[in-house]
């Protein structure tokens, strides 16, 4: 367990000292959201109608953008080989990596999302559901993203490839996340959608590390 938290600590410290990565992801998130009013026009009714979708799509793209640094850095400097050789199961290492990735991208995205909700004129009553949905959905995105990052490790054009293989897998959180915001404004209530989002993250928590660890093993062979 010490190794597990040590790895998280190591990744967090790297992210804090380099700093640029978190800023890049957040900057992309903000810019992507701000582009929409220019693209679809500044009418508040229209923006309010699609606000949740804009924020979710931008968060998803920002998460994809950050995935390549999940394993690529450690792979390049050989650290990944040492992690694989250590006594800690590789699945646990993947889980630590995923947790660090969520803390450095998912969580900051959740934190700035209320500010961005103002820009796109999201209905204030829906704001708690949007934030809660992102909070429940982003862990699944980090965990599923770890599979794609591990699979495309060492590929010729990892960025494009990763986007292609990850987007189909990211659709469920996107669908339930935006549906939760829609439902919170109707009589239906967001509970069912939020539960499904939580279920996605909880299912990815034990399953994704196995798939990602298997992918890492064959990448390191």
């Amino acid at each position: 367990m010490n190794a597990f938290f040590g790895l998280i600590h190591h990744d967090l410290r790297l992210a804090a000292r380099q700093g640029g990565d978190i800023g890049l992801v957040l900057g992309f998130f903000v810019l992507a959201v701000i582009l929409f009013p220019f693209g679809v026009g500044p009418e508040p009714e229209l923006l309010r109608r699609i606000a949740a979708g804009i924020i979710w799509v931008a968060a998803l793209l920002a998460a994809v953008l950050s995935l390549d640094r999940l394993f690529a850095g450690d792979h390049a400097d050989g650290g990944l080989d040492l992690i694989a050789l250590s006594a800690m199961p590789l699945e646990l290492a993947v889980l630590a990596k995923g947790a660090a990735h969520w803390l450095t991208t998912g969580l900051p995205l959740v934190v700035v999302s209320p500010v961005l909700a103002l820009f796109v004129d999201l209905d204030p009553r829906a704001l708690p559901v949007l934030v809660l949905g992102l909070l429940l959905g982003t862990p699944a995105m980090s965990l599923i993203g770890a599979i794609a990052a591990a699979l495309s490790l060492g590929a010729r054009r990892p960025g494009v490839l990763m986007t292609l293989i990850i987007l189909p897998l990211y659709l469920p959180p996107l669908i339930f996340g935006t549906a939760a915001v829609e439902a919170s404004l109707s009589a239906e209530g967001a509970r069912a959608h939020l539960l499904l989002l939580a279920a996605l993250s909880l299912a990815a928590l034990p399953l994704a590390p196995f798939a990602a660890a298997a992918a890492l093993r064959q990448a390191l062979d």
Binding site: I147, S152, R156, L164, L169, L171, A211, Q218, A219
Partner: protein, 258 residues
């Protein structure tokens, strides 16, 4: 029985015998099915003649799902038993499955225009089949993304297994959500609700599509095996040309025979 086929040499021999039969069979059955479904089957009382699109659309959709299942099972076999032929089978099947998925999407769109009044709706069934198409594309892209072909094969196998979560979603999407796409009318509890005069040509078409898949699969697998053989010959078979006495194949050795 399948494991006895797993020897590549034996596979080449048996598939060489089976190939013309599968090819001829699929052409005959498809010709019969097309004539039956396009000319002889009755027009639908509501949809009129455009129901005939269904005879292509439905078998293509079945094949799109079945081929993905095939790719996933072959990938599992390749990962667990490390058998090269299973990997070749999965890689050979994926583009065929992608083509079936594209046919399914295109014919569905053509049918949707007169029937639903729109080329495309974002309903659960249509969306999940589109996702299946992207899964195929992702698999093909991943397999071809590495300089080391065996690495691409194993990464692709893992992705195929991960993507299998989408199959039940497609199959049951019309039951779980209220979709514009109609629910299943052939494979359902309580027997088919489709008229026998349409069911039989539909099944004939499905058999034709399945035979066509088998034929194309054997063709592509044999090509892949021959390609590997040719590559091995090029790398190891001519010791003098590259000047590499250790027998270690280097990338530099390649252009000499290109």
């Amino acid at each position: 029985m399948l494991s006895s086929l797993a020897n590549p040499a034996r596979f080449m021999r048996i598939s060489g015998v089976a190939r013309p039969w599968l090819g001829g069979g699929s052409l005959v059955v498809l010709a019969l099915g097309l004539a039956w479904s396009l000319l002889l089957a009755p027009p639908d009382y509501q949809q009129g003649e455009s129901v005939r699109i269904m005879f292509i659309h439905v078998p293509a959709a079945w094949m799109a799902l079945s081929v993905y299942l095939f790719v996933a099972i072959a990938s599992a076999v390749a990962l667990v038993w490390r058998h090269p032929l299973a990997e070749i089978a999965a890689q050979a099947a994926a583009p065929i499955g992608a083509a079936f998925t594209l046919i399914c999407l295109a014919t569905g769109s053509l049918w949707g225009r007169p029937m639903w009044g729109t080329w495309w709706v974002w309903d659960a069934r249509l969306t999940s089949v589109l996702v299946l198409f992207f899964l195929y594309l992702g698999y093909i892209a991943l397999v071809n993304a590495f300089d080391d072909a065996s690495r691409g094969g194993r990464a692709g196998s893992l992705l195929a297994l991960v993507g299998i979560v989408n199959l039940p979603i497609i199959k049951f999407s019309v039951d779980w959500w209220n979709t514009l796409h109609q629910p299943a009318s052939v494979l359902r509890l309580g027997g088919p609700t489709i008229a026998v005069s349409m069911l039989i040509p539909l099944l004939v078409m499905a058999l034709g599509f399945a035979l066509l898949f088998g034929w194309l699969l054997l063709l592509r697998m044999r090509t892949a095996l021959n390609e590997r053989k040719a590559r091995a010959l090029r790398l190891y078979g001519m010791p003098a040309a590259g000047g590499e006495e250790s027998g270690q194949p280097g990338p530099a050795a390649r252009p000499a025979w290109r």
